[in-house]
């Protein structure tokens, strides 16, 4: 909903993502703040920010697949892993620049995701969600059982640092800018996808796939495309993950991570790109809080023990998913939209 007094009089205005000066201003301030972040906070928080940005890319992909197209995807971590391993192998073997390996990782993951998405030709609904669990198992099996010289097997694989014109992108700050640029591009792309012809087809399939088919949408192709797009995002995130840790191992991409990603879109709000970003921020921030406060808590309350940190994180996260589904199934973004509509209409009730 636009603020009062803003009317689109030209088609380009109707198409615009940002409709008012204030929105442009807010976006500019937000991006400037993100760009200036390394000057404002310490290295520890920058490392956290890197993880948030990478998660943001992966979760925006999941949002397109699950939130917009309605295909529950429990294999997002596996798709991310495919991207990470592709980046690792390409960078280590061929010495390609990261400018190429990151998109190529996305393409590799998209291919892997597309294969599982194709099973939508016969399988529907939650059965399809289960095939994505199979994706997770296939990924683990493949990495661990392919010859060790290919992917490193259970030892993992090392990744050389990304370099740009001879400058090594290895410090947390330089990685931050790499991740930031990638995230901005990918999120902008996501806004484009979801309001395009494809995005509208995704929403139609989510709302009712039989009805969508009757209206002339190719349901199977749409579902497979949703997996393709979601996996592409996961692959790009995985490549950045590889460059950040400089080491990839199969344990970094478990079913549990996929569940975490789903938790983020539930908390943020299904069917909203910004909601995905909010979900990532909230969940990762609380996770970080528990991790950093955990040791102190364990020290002051000795009988709880150090394991309590991991355990309480699970209790918190599982509780958060369930609570959000029961109390606010549309997520934080929906709350924010209510607040926004309220202040735009103020002082009138509607």
């Amino acid at each position: 909903m636009d603020p009062a007094g803003v009317f689109a009089v030209r088609y380009s205005q109707d198409r615009a993502l940002l409709r008012t000066r204030k929105q442009w201003f807010a976006l500019a301030v937000f991006l400037a703040a993100l760009a200036a972040l390394p000057l404002l906070v310490g290295p520890r928080l920058i490392a956290v920010a890197n993880i948030m940005l990478i998660s943001a890319i992966v979760v925006v992909g999941l949002q397109i697949c699950t939130g917009y197209a309605g295909q529950v995807n429990l294999g997002q971590a596996a798709f991310m892993g495919v991207g990470a391993y592709t980046a690792a192998v390409l960078a280590e073997r061929t010495g390609l620049s990261f400018l190429l390996t990151i998109p190529l990782s996305g393409v590799a993951a998209a291919g892997f995701g597309f294969v599982f998405g194709l099973s939508a030709a016969r399988i529907k609904g939650f059965y399809l969600a289960l095939t994505t669990i199979a994706a997770q198992f296939v990924f683990h099996f493949a990495v661990l059982n392919l010859p060790g010289s290919w992917l490193g097997g259970s030892n993992g694989a090392t990744v050389p640092p990304a370099t740009l014109f001879g400058y090594r992108i290895a410090s947390d700050t330089s990685l931050y800018y790499l991740c930031l640029v990638c995230t901005v591009i990918m999120v902008y792309g996501a806004f484009g996808i979801v309001r395009s012809r494809f995005g509208r087809a995704f929403i139609a399939v989510r709302d009712d796939d039989v009805a969508a088919g009757i209206m002339g949408i190719n349901v199977v192709a749409t579902k497979a495309t949703a997996f393709l797009v979601g996996a592409f995002y996961a692959g790009v995130g995985g490549a950045l993950w590889a460059y950040m840790l400089r080491f990839v191992a199969v344990d970094q991409f478990t079913l549990f991570n996929s569940v975490f990603f789903i938790a983020m879109i539930i908390v943020g709000g299904m069917g909203s790109v910004v909601g995905a970003l909010i979900g990532v921020f909230v969940i990762r921030a609380i996770q970080e809080l528990i991790t950093s406060l955990g040791p102190e808590l364990a020290a002051s309350v000795p009988f709880l023990g150090g394991d309590i940190v991991f355990a309480s994180m699970n209790v918190f996260l599982g509780g958060a998913i369930a609570l959000f589904l029961i109390i606010e199934p549309k997520g934080l973004m929906h709350r924010w939209n209510i607040v926004k509509a309220g202040y735009r209409l103020w002082p009138f009730p509607y």
Partner: protein, 295 residues
């Protein structure tokens, strides 16, 4: 050679029946509430820990402790329904399924907080010595488990297909709205589903864990049992037996003959490959319902 083959096949089949038992918890919940329970493995772990708590930690004799653990598991099921699903009746099934994903994480956390991450010894419920017939060696726990699975499958299929209560629950699995408008209590059906699902998972835990060690990682069997449920078709309880035997025999033979060739783990991924192939050929599984969709 041939005796080895028979041995692997029989052991595989019995392991498959164990998967069928675990999958039964999953199918019962689906059959009475239309909810895909992603937390099945965690229910098994919880059932295992409840028994460990009663028998090993509290020191109760097995004859008292294990039935008590079953009662507790039923209470946990009822609690899950009261806390989460009772509030979601009338919402979409999608939301309920998402809640089970939340439960997966939550239950793991609860188990870790309550019982810790240490590896615990599980009480020896079934004798450790395998049953030896000629040259065949059959693990006793799996044999008893197989018998229990067959009995449970027969009993539950009769319940769901022949009794009035079971048929009303079947209506819930068909469509919540329609069931509600026919005067069927969706809430009660879901409560029953979770109580029964938790009890069956605890039974699965006894068979699976008897005499072994237990920690939270045992939940992996929940996902290992999924191919069996899908192969049978999610609505069929009797079909689980056949599906379990098929998956188990294939897995047993693959572990014995293919693993040495490729270096391991074929047995664990093959059920998923079978599952994918079967779903592609027959999306409803072997005995699932073929539903007609309307807009």
């Amino acid at each position: 050679m041939i005796i080895d083959f028979v041995n692997y096949a029989i052991n595989g089949a019995l392991l498959g029946l164990l998967y069928a038992l675990i999958a039964m918890g999953f199918v019962v919940i689906y059959r009475a509430s239309k909810v895909f329970n992603f937390a099945q493995g965690e229910l098994v772990v919880l059932g295992g820990f409840l028994q460990w708590w009663m028998v090993v930690s509290m020191g109760l004799p097995m004859i008292v402790g294990i039935p008590l653990a079953f009662v507790l598991a039923g209470v946990v099921g009822l609690l899950i329904e009261r806390i989460f699903f009772a509030r979601l009746v009338g919402e979409s099934v999608f939301a309920m399924v998402m809640v089970t994903i939340g439960l997966l994480v939550l239950l793991r956390g609860v188990v870790l907080v309550a019982f810790g991450p240490q590896v615990r010894p599980f009480p020896i419920v079934f004798p450790l010595q395998p049953l030896v017939i000629g040259e065949l060696m059959i693990p006793t726990n799996l044999l008893w488990g197989g018998v229990l699975t067959v009995l449970a499958a027969i009993g539950l299929s009769w319940f769901f297909n022949r009794t009035r209560t079971g048929l009303t629950m079947t209506a819930v699995a068909e469509d919540h709205q329609v069931a509600l408008s026919m005067g069927i209590s969706v809430k009660r059906s879901i409560a029953f589903a979770w109580v029964l699902g938790c009890v069956l998972s605890t039974l699965g835990a006894v068979v699976f864990l008897s005499g072994k060690s237990l920690n939270f990682l045992a939940s992996e069997i929940g996902f290992a049992a999924l191919p069996v449920a899908l192969l049978a078709g999610l609505e069929s309880i009797g079909g689980l037996l056949l599906a379990g035997v098929i998956v188990g025999v294939i897995q047993g033979l693959a572990t014995a003959y293919l693993d040495p060739l490729v270096g391991g783990a074929v047995g664990s991924v093959l059920p998923f490959a079978i599952m994918l192939l079967i779903l592609l050929a027959r999306p409803t599984g072997l005995f699932g319902w073929r539903t007609i969709e309307r807009v």
